[in-house]
Symmetry: C2
Subunit: 181 residues, 2 copies
DNA sequence: GTCTATATACAGATAGAC
DNA sequence: GTCTATCTGTATATAGAC
């Protein structure tokens, strides 16, 4: 895990931003190279194919989620509130990685779909001890999925305005009341 | 609203199926023509552009949802249970129309995104009188979004196994207990 | 109303110079 | 390690015959 060359991360950041802002259609290798300030050939030195580019995003997601599960388990307000609160888009690295990976999955990448399923399972495993039964865990996971879905569909603005601030607090209280062991 | 020519609906069905099964990338005009059993030129007589094809899907969705909101309001088990139950993919016309429209939105179609936002608002308006406050309505809408999200991401199998049967009944009971006015 | 043939554009990927 | 130039495939769309 020695430090990768600067251009590597720069290209990956650019590709991620394109996936989020323009969707799979706009996230071309050409556009990624341009946005990263390198030539197409330069990009292809680091990522030999578009699949390699996608694999870079997926790997980044897995790394970030592993760290987040640790943070969640140690959260003072409890894992469920932490999880739901962090399900609304804050544009931090993990949100961006999930969004970008979702776009890859939408575009037909099976490794992206697998990664999303895997990280969802990781979160579910960490939350299970804090819910009273299977339905309660389903409820928490589905509300989280719903929050992400509303962010993912069109950069955060479409279709639904996601609850924030006091509305989010009320939602979390409602869920916690329903599922407390 | 006179009956459209047969080929029109046939092409639209084929395009919808391709969006669902292959994703936006596979839903090309060429593939739609082939699947519908017409030539590319034949398709282009009915749909002059890919945007026209997308508009056909969106219009179909709006029509189906208008009818569904009526059905929901008159449902014997209550609108909330009806709504959540119908949020899991049953492969009926309305599910297929939503899935296909979601794929169009993912591909960058703003009219598809608008349609999804509009129909979500229509459902929310119909459900609001049956929830005790804004957080309760958020809860119902987000669980529904979550159910759809899990269906939409990869044809139903990825990422999460959606609760069905008894698990779905338990989930609905949990939600109804939390939100009852 | 449906077809064939073709124009245009762009994406992914290769070759090889510097 | 980064570049330019180029090949190949395929998608959207047009033109015009039948």
């Amino acid at each position: 895990m020695s430090r990768p060359p600067l251009a590597y991360e720069k290209v990956l950041d650019a590709f991620e931003a394109l996936l989020i802002d323009e969707g799979p259609r706009g996230a071309t290798m050409d556009a990624a190279a341009r946005a990263a300030g390198v030539s197409k050939g330069g990009l292809l030195y680091h990522f030999a194919s578009k699949d390699a580019l996608a694999a870079g995003i997926v790997e980044r997601l897995r790394t970030l989620v592993d760290a987040d599960v640790e943070l969640m388990a140690a959260s003072p307000e409890g894992p469920v509130a932490y999880f739901l609160r962090s399900s609304i888009m804050q544009n931090d690295p993990i949100d961006r990685a999930i969004l970008a990976t979702s776009r890859l999955a939408q575009d037909g990448s099976t490794s992206a779909s697998e990664a999303l399923r895997d990280v969802r399972n990781k979160w579910a495993d960490a939350l299970r001890p804090h819910t009273k039964d299977a339905a309660s865990l389903d409820l928490v996971m589905l509300v989280s999925d719903g929050l992400y879905f509303n962010n993912a569909l069109d950069g955060g603005s479409i279709p639904g305005p996601v609850p924030r601030g006091a509305a989010l607090d009320a939602l979390i209280a409602l869920v916690e009341g329903a599922i407390r062991r």
